[in-house]
């Protein structure tokens, strides 16, 4: 409860800071529109030449893009402002020292205390594309499909947070290793169903860098109906990833000797 209040207070402060720069809002809205528009246009071009790609229909692709955009919007709003370029901003500049002195869990402060409310526009646009995809589907999603999608989205959010924390934790062992560009590039793979890729990449995207769980799995559950095994695997993956992230953070802190001392 205390953490939720802290999250709310952090969001409120970030929102007030953001609306002071209204021109930035215009840029962010335009970029979000064109970014999503480009992604949708690329898919629509493909579907002028085929009725289905790797077993996915146009409606399913749109649902997948919408779902991917929702998670990406949440990540850009709540996680990226804290953990992007963490080796530089968190470790080398000594910001982590400040978090360690505050009366709240350092993992929460380092990963969720700041936010970028303007990035929520991506979330809103994601909802629009998701609605478009559902409307274009031959059959509306079942109640089980919707519930399954919601559960898997929650799991995907936890996995997204955990992946960012794990990436940031690398800085405790290799402070000069900067993998943000790599991470954000690989993230783009989530915008397409994993069935499109060759088998080795599909295996990596399912078990090593679980982008399949970010969009492909929830989207399939929404339109094709729930599967108990997938739900259990999604929840287990979220629990495992969160546990691993917390363990890595604690191990990293034991190794950390401070940048400003």
């Amino acid at each position: 409860m205390k953490l939720l209040r802290l999250l709310g207070a952090g969001f409120s402060m970030s929102l007030r800071r953001s609306v002071a720069f209204r021109i930035n809002l215009v840029f962010d809205v335009l970029l979000a529109f064109t970014g999503l528009g480009t992604a949708v246009a690329a898919v629509l071009i493909v579907f002028t030449r085929a009725d289905a790609v790797a077993g996915w229909s146009k409606a399913e692709f749109l649902v997948l893009i919408g779902t991917y955009q929702l998670i990406t919007g949440m990540r850009a709003t709540f996680i990226d402002p804290n953990l992007s370029w963490f080796p530089e901003t968190g470790i080398r500049n000594g910001k982590l020292d400040g978090y360690l002195l505050q009366p709240a869990p350092s993992l929460f402060l380092a990963s969720l205390s700041l936010s970028s409310p303007l990035a929520l526009i991506q979330f809103v646009l994601g909802v629009v594309v998701l609605g478009w995809g559902i409307g274009a589907a031959e059959q509306p999603p079942s109640v089980g499909g919707v519930v399954s999608w919601l559960v898997l989205m929650a799991a995907a959010l936890v996995v997204t947070w955990a992946l960012s924390v794990l990436l940031a934790c690398l800085a405790f062992w290799a402070p000069k290793l900067q993998l943000d560009v790599f991470y954000h590039s690989a993230w783009q793979l989530g915008r397409y169903p994993t069935d499109v890729f060759a088998r080795p990449i599909r295996v990596v995207l399912t078990y090593v860098f679980p982008m399949a769980l970010i969009a492909s799995v929830p989207s399939a559950a929404l339109l094709r109906g729930p599967q108990l095994g997938v739900l259990v695997a999604g929840i287990a993956a979220a629990g495992g990833a969160a546990g691993l992230a917390a363990f890595a953070w604690r191990s990293g802190l034991r190794r950390y000797t401070g940048a400003t001392s």
Partner: protein
């Protein structure tokens, strides 16, 4: 002659400086190849038996690596932190330093990305006709110039706004959509295809890739040159206006 000497000196200096950041350069290679790779997989799923798709996208990967530009990071940041003043005080055009760094980064990206291109080409059995590859070289050089001028033009907006990354991001989306990365131009719907062939983005990626892949026999140097000259004119105007507006930090 003096300009060429200065450019050569700057290029050597930048190549050596960037040699220490090979790990970061490797992540830039991944960033450059990911969009063409996605295009390759998606279009291979649509046309599984067409060897032209693999050949075209392997060429797109190589052209992308050879023409990547990051002036929003290398140049615009100098406007934001005020260090552009140092460059303005030197008795040489500012753009020499920008071009030197651009060429150095491209050289490293091409070198580090070459194994990916080779592996992808071999794995997909994308046999190239070497005459076509050689024929594409002038077009690649013009494409490299075109991408640089386009990115530099967008990077100049840093004189007016602190959201230069959004501006350049928008420009990159246009290149992705109309340049031949999202889809080969020939596979676009007719109206889009006509628009794409007129805009400069096709000359940045798709045109040299098509020539190298052998799907197009001749280049279109006139089309690329006209766009380069046009964009250089706009850069010239923006540069003069921007420098007049520029106020150095601390002055």
């Amino acid at each position: 002659m003096r300009t060429a000497y200065l450019l050569g000196f700057r290029l050597r200096q930048e190549v050596l400086e960037w040699s220490g950041a090979w790990w970061f350069l490797a992540t830039l290679v991944v960033q450059a190849v990911i969009a063409p790779l996605i295009g390759l997989f998606v279009w291979s799923a649509v046309y599984p038996d067409d060897p032209q798709i693999a050949r075209y996208y392997v060429a797109v990967i190589l052209v992308t690596l050879m023409t990547e530009s990051f002036e929003q990071h290398t140049f615009s940041e100098r406007i934001y932190d005020g260090t552009l003043s140092h460059e303005l005080l030197r008795p040489q055009p500012v753009v020499i330093g920008v071009i030197g760094m651009n060429l150095a980064i491209r050289a490293w990206l091409t070198l580090l990305g070459a194994p990916i291109v080779l592996l992808t080409g071999i794995a997909l059995r994308a046999g190239f006709d070497w005459h076509s590859v050689l024929r594409s070289l002038p077009s690649v050089v013009l494409a490299a110039a075109l991408v640089f001028v386009w990115t530099f033009l967008l990077a100049l907006t840093a004189f007016w706004t602190d959201r230069v990354h959004a501006v350049v991001g928008f420009g990159s989306q246009l290149v992705f959509l109309f340049g031949g990365t999202a889809a080969p131009i020939a596979l676009l719907p007719d109206a889009w295809q006509r628009i794409a062939e007129v805009l400069p983005f096709y000359g940045m990626i798709g045109l040299p890739a098509e020539i190298a892949a052998g799907t197009r026999s001749g280049g279109a140097p006139g089309y690329q040159l006209v766009w380069i000259l046009l964009l250089v004119g706009v850069v010239w105007v923006l540069w003069r206006a921007g420098v007049r507006r520029y106020t150095a930090v601390g002055s």
